[in-house]
Assembly symmetry: C2
Homo-oligomer: 440 residues x 2
């Protein structure tokens, strides 16, 4: 049997991790793939002298890897949209299988890539693109293949989860924790992708396409970050028995698909509410299996390498099989994917936490509950914080915080009620609201 | 393309679940497998009139299914050792792939079954045998294939976890909760397999073989049940910041493999410590990925069916592939498995919780700590409960409970120290000890 040759494009953190783990566990990988593999060609402009690159062709042009006739599998680890897209399309055109860790690339260009791969009869695998080392793509695509997926919800950005965990554990402000996270290397110098939910949206779109067998649809993912989460809401949520997590949620409903990234209150006894720090987790609800959860490191050199290499081992094992033995990128053929309508945020259904700052006058609570009741919104819990109870909540003195948790309602109806509440004379500020999910 | 024909042996709870889900999600399954499949033959002595069996051959002899030349994949759902073993071996001899949910069969006869299957060039899959609907076999065998697995720890018996959860939440006695669990159908009339850890040992042995690429070795799994867990230890563990869970633990050490099922104290902030009720979870530590966790329903008709069908879909997808494209039952060829030595319980290393009932006299604690210190055992935490603090702990009046948590030590050294403690005049009862795992 021929040794299967792997070409790696990009030798940053993840690329170095892939090379290191493939060398350290080489015998194990060959046994698990049932045949031998080796990294034969690496394309990078920044070779790392501490890595063992004996017997590996080094090119400073990544396209040399893709155009190397000896390379069987191309591993794209350069990140970003370009030249990653061109590189992957060239690899496919050259008849090579592709493994990538690039969530932005798959979320934005996945449809073109998967269609080209299927037409050419090669595989594109991307386990490392979502939730780092957690084998969530394999779980959704193969482990849960018996199920019609009803919904999934994930903590799929470690930076955001670290910040929210610190805010809760230590009562700190978003901006302070972010500054620390940047110092610790948990957050980028430009944290927009992480804290505004763009990175999570990329991953959610991939999970949703796989779960619901639909083309990737990044344009219709509602995305709200965590930069506006106030410490008083973190504290009040805890008092009410909830935790605030930055969730990506995809749900199949009779009206269409909900696809949304936003801060979310979750009952504290739910397992996913206890996923803290930089860790990731994805909760998946299938019609047969009910709820399952997958937890692990969402980033880092070796956890990400773990997923990249698992994809490689699968492809190597299948190297003599006909194409119809390969599991396709979205679990089924591009021909059978269905363009489900993605709901706008106004159309989704959720429960809501709302905090209304009011003057300390009699009757205010009844005005608020009357507005909600008139809109057909039921109330699950009420908490009223008088000014002398404000210590530790960061609430301004002389005001009262009325905190409510509603039942599930269509968002448009809820936000319309919020406008009416804000129009009340005794309401002193815009209403803060956060969506609440029971995840059961 | 030919329709792949599935034969099901046994139409109990799980068999009915498999048939129901395969019919409900038929289109989905065919798309995910890339070709059509259908249940063509069911062997059962108890046909269920409420199931749709149109177009299915029904036999009251399960061997008729195995010997049906039209059947491509045999699904064994009769449970137990015999005739399940004979049935599976006959299916293999007839050149059919096998899917089974039978943990006892695989744990005890797996080596013979896997060797026969490899010689014949057919696959044996058993996702449903461990942790019900959780795709943990696929995760270990494929999702984490890049990793050298260092250890795993699982809550892999739902009945036991339900009982321990009720004991903690409601301060109840083991026997009372068990009686209720039997009424609710969570526990069998004969609960021995569940509460004495035999069922968990079957599952642990399978997980360990897969994790460490070694033949199945049920004889050397240390097995201790939960029937002796006292409510006062549940309460004291909580006070010390721990939860008691019935864990199956497999660990690779320099001396050999640890493989053990027993009640275990886990720090309460660990995610797995928060897996409650009948739910299962498996924590896996790989050298590249670090810790990952998999959570879901460990039993039930449709969760178990979810795993059975996932195995079927994989086999159907691979139906035209050469045998070397199949992932083997233990992830690699029987030829390359290594018979690692399994350590006796005396050789394992653990931290320990111990509760010593003593007369309320001065100097007792120092005698106990002196014995531990003389054995080279460090102490992590001490809690002394005077007789007037015994309310709610179920401790006898007039005595003092000395509770200690030790550092990690070889078990033989620890139990020898326990004997010395029990020999002290002021110690009024045998010492209760429970192993403690940090799982980090």
């Amino acid at each position: 049997m021929n040794v299967i040759k792997i070409g790696i494009c990009g030798l940053g953190t993840v690329g170095a991790g892939v090379l290191t783990v493939m060398q350290r566990n080489a015998d194990l990988l060959n046994r698990r793939a049932g045949r031998a593999m080796r990294v034969s060609h690496v394309g990078t402009r920044r070779p790392k002298p501490d890595l063992n690159t004996a017997d590996i062709t080094l090119s400073d042009d990544i396209f040399a890897v893709v155009n190397d006739p000896d390379v069987d599998i191309v591993v794209e680890l350069i990140g970003g949209y370009e030249p990653a897209f061109e590189l992957v399309m060239q690899a496919i055109a050259n008849g090579k299988h592709v493994v990538t860790a690039n969530k932005a690339l798959i979320a934005v260009h996945g449809n073109a890539i998967f269609t080209a791969a299927e037409a050419k009869g090669v595989s594109v695998r991307y386990e490392a693109a979502v939730a780092g080392g957690i084998p969530i793509i394999k779980a959704l695509r193969e482990g849960l293949s018996a199920n019609k997926i009803e919904w999934l919800a994930g903590i799929i950005n470690g930076t955001g989860n670290y910040i929210l965990t610190e805010m809760r554990d230590k009562g700190r402000l978003f901006a302070d924790v972010l500054a620390d996270a940047q110092q610790l290397g948990y957050a980028e110098a430009d944290p927009t992708f992480d804290v505004e939910g763009i990175d999570a949206a990329h991953k959610l779109v991939i999970l949703a396409s796989l779960a619901f067998a639909m083309p990737l649809n990044i344009d219709n993912c509602f995305t709200q970050g965590i930069s506006a989460v106030a410490p008083q809401d973190v504290t009040l949520a805890t008092e009410l028995g909830y935790r605030i997590k930055h969730l990506g949620i995809a749900r199949r409903t009779a009206k269409g698909i909900e696809m949304r990234v936003h801060p979310t209150l979750i009952p504290h006894r739910r397992l996913i509410a206890n996923v803290d720090g930089v860790m990731n987790a994805v909760l998946v609800k299938g019609d047969a299996v009910d709820a399952t959860l997958y937890y692990g490191a969402g980033a880092g050199a070796e956890p990400t390498a773990s997923s990249v290499i698992a994809d490689i081992v699968d492809l190597v094992r299948l190297s003599e099989a006909p194409y119809n033995a390969q599991v396709l990128s979205l679990g089924e053929s591009a021909d059978t994917l269905v363009e489900h309508r993605v709901l706008s945020i106004n159309e989704i259904e959720s429960a809501y936490y709302l905090r209304v700052m009011v003057d300390d006058k009699p009757g205010v609570l009844s005005h608020i509950t009357q507005i909600l009741s008139d809109s057909g919104i039921s109330i699950d819990a009420v908490l009223q914080k008088e000014s002398d109870q404000h210590q530790g909540h960061g609430l301004p003195a002389g005001h009262v915080a009325v905190v409510l948790i509603t039942d599930v309602i269509v968002e448009a109806i809820f936000t319309s009620a919020v406008k009416n509440i804000e129009a009340l004379d005794s309401v002193t500020d815009t209403v803060t609201f956060i969506r609440v999910e029971s995840l059961a």
